[in-house]
Amino acid sequence: MIRFDGVTFTYDGAERPTLDRVDLSVGEGELCVVVGPTGSGKTTLLRAVNGLVPYFTGGRLSGEVTVDGRSTRDHPPRELADVVGMVGQNPAASFVTDSVEDELAYTMENLGLASDVMRRRVEDALDLLGLHELRDRPLATLSGGQQQRVAIGAVLTASPRVLVLDEPTSALDPAAAEEVLSSLTRLVHDLGLTVLLAEHRLERVLPFADSVVLIPGTGAQLVVGPAAEVMVQSPVAPPLVHLGRLAGWDPLPLSIRDARRLAGPLRVRLEGARPVERPDTLAGSSVASLSRVTVRYHDVVALDAVDLEFRAGEIVAVMGRNGSGKSTLLSRLAGVRPPDAGRVEVGGDDPARLEPRALVAKVGLVPQDAGVLLYGESVGEECSAADHDTGLTPGTTAAVLERILPGLPPGRHPRDLSEGQRLALALAIVLAPAPPLLLLDEPTRGLDYPGKARLVQLLAELAADGHCVVAATHDVELVAQVATRAVVLAEGEIVADGYARDVVCHSPVFAPQVAKVLAPDLWLTVDEVRTALLGEPVGG
């Protein structure tokens, strides 16, 4: 269905090709996952399928991409709109109309379908993706998860043979992600749709994958094959695979169900062992506090009389479904805007009243769309500007960046970076001055597992130094690795607040993979299991 024959693609002005002699074939009715480190060219590969690369990016493409027998060489993206449905990384940016129903019909209108056919397909898509209650809603009023489903529905109505999705679940909470992925699986099984998708949170997509395309980066050749085989050697792998390697399971399980069947002996070996407890930080001194904070957007209450206290040395994970008030909480703590009612205090001051320079000394925020922090001409310029703004010794920010994501060329323009690279740069800019309160909104979007591990290390060091880190995230594996405390929000109210281990392990939605496999014991990460096993007497 999708064929790449010796495809090499080089962006204008780049020294190395982004795609190098790629040969790839994805058969009909296959769900294929593209995995690879941050900045390895996954998005470029996906966008080449319908010709957005190179028609809208410039650059030089040699070799040939064919979809359903049509070559992108002589078919521009619009001529492939009936075969390929493309959903980008940011669905809100791809909307063309202003209401759900019009958006679903847009592609069909362009294809010139008869109006009774359009009616039928719009109704079907509304049912299939559970959107019927939203049909008349303006798109701007939808939550992130709803927007993602509308974006998928909008390409499905044109009945494409191929669906290409770039990080379809990165903006979604675990339950919404599960639901989108099961809709996709249903389409693959029932209708023979071919799906090609890129995703960093492999723990979410691998159970559904038929095959995996591994882009190792660094110019090495692609590895293509059945999911379980490729995962044995993949440098990027979800915790489940690491656990399987540690326990020596064969074949490697890709779903929790398979793993639990194999986990009996491991549970026996772990009997009596306890995970190393994280430092108890409930006695730390207060860094920031919210008292009776209420925030409304028109007639929607985003935060409802919230009381919270953040202490030195804590790493707090703020969780909750899409639209539950997580981002609002962080933005009020950072003083982006004052709350409608109640009081925010950071280090004894109201952050919304501080001058910018005084503000960065007290609190740093990486917003959800990290790119908005960047407006320099190059990576190097951003780093030196950040040093200058916050009075650091020159080179500090660059050194932090090197720790999170080594080898980012300093001459590169921030707009040419991948999503994950941009996030790493924004993280470096905010983490370098090390203010007492660090706020991170979805800090792992587009970041690969090694990058995530380095970030975790950095955050743990900051917390050990007495800084307070608050991360709003859907990434349960991040929470499992680093958080000391977890706060769960729903509809602007706090529904759970306590030790991270207790909060996440007891929730079917937020439990990380290791906890699910080893339940009812409260293990969170592969590292904890490894330490427990190696500390055991030999022969275990």
Partner: protein, 423 residues
Amino acid sequence: MTRSAAVGPSRRGLHPGAWWLWAACMAGAASRTTNPILLLLIGGVVAFVVAARRTSAPWSRSLVVFLRLGIVVIVIRVVLVIVFGNRLSGHVLFTLPHVPLPSWAAGVSIGGPVTAEAILEAVVLGLRLAVVLLCFGAANSLASPYRLLRCLPAVLYEAGVAITVSLAFAPELVIAIGDVRDARRLRGRPVRGVAGLRGMAVPVLESAFDRSLQLASSMDARGYGRRVDVPRGVRRCATGGTAVGLLLVVGGIYGVLSPGSLPGGGIPFVALGAILVGVGLAAGGRRTVRTRYRPDPWRRPEWLVAASGVAVVGCMVAAAALGAPGMQFTVYPLGPPTLPLLAAGGVLLGLLPAWVAPVERRPGAAGGTRPPRPTRGRSGNRSKAVTPPPPPAETPAARRPTAPPVPHVPSGTPVGHNEDRAA
């Protein structure tokens, strides 16, 4: 009559063309009079209809924006009159110090006596402009420009898209300015003053352009601009007809503006040019394959709304032609304006849409950036009675797709299947 024409809640609402026509008529009526009572009456009628029939979509708040703009217009006019003086004689309210200006600035005066007549005239003229603005605000509130675009004939669609995208650029810019401001604050950089302004201009423009490019690529990926092959003759006819026609129109307008330079005062040129452009566009339209999803029908409510607008203008014109007293307001002698009954009665006809137009059902369109809470409906909203409860915010239970898989979504039909194409 109105009772029988009243329509229950309908899903699509009134044809946007009818709303825009009605609003244009109200604006036209306002521009034909300077009687402040009539002007206020028109403004009141427009506001009443909007309050009765607008939805809760984000764009329906345009009326308030335009109302503020109108007030600013009036204030500016009054301030200009006070400072630069329209030296109407009459009742002097106060006197500003006179600033002597050099002789080359004759005709401009700063300061001097300010009369009640001058201020009153400024207020009335400002009011007229404000009411016209209010009418366009009403059109925006009742039907989004995007919905109007959907009704354009296929020929004009592409030009319409260009206009819509450029109209969308301004709001994008406003959003981008807010984002960049917040981001600069978070990085500890000044957000006010010259330094702040300079640092913000580039990123703001960059992100707004970025958004436009993204829109273009996503429109293309979704099939915008697909063409069908038409005979070369038709294609040439389209290009040639449009180009020659436009030239003729331009030349003709020159003739109209400078009498005697062209035979017939240039009008035949304009007419011929317009016909050629029309033919060219129609031929060009055959190249697009675009069809329309659920076109808005034009039925009795649409006719009634349009007719009420035309009736308002008709009464105004008739009243002026009959020489009804009070159509134009005069400050000499200073006194309350008289009310021309025919014109005032006519304006009240503009209220008709408040009853005959169907109430558009837009469930849950709370206009916020998040879904509304499931437990609370909007209160105090006139359309509440017919608004079903807003859909629940995402809760795990509500999220499960309730329908079983529908195997024929993409119909399983081969791509490019012809039976689905509109003729």
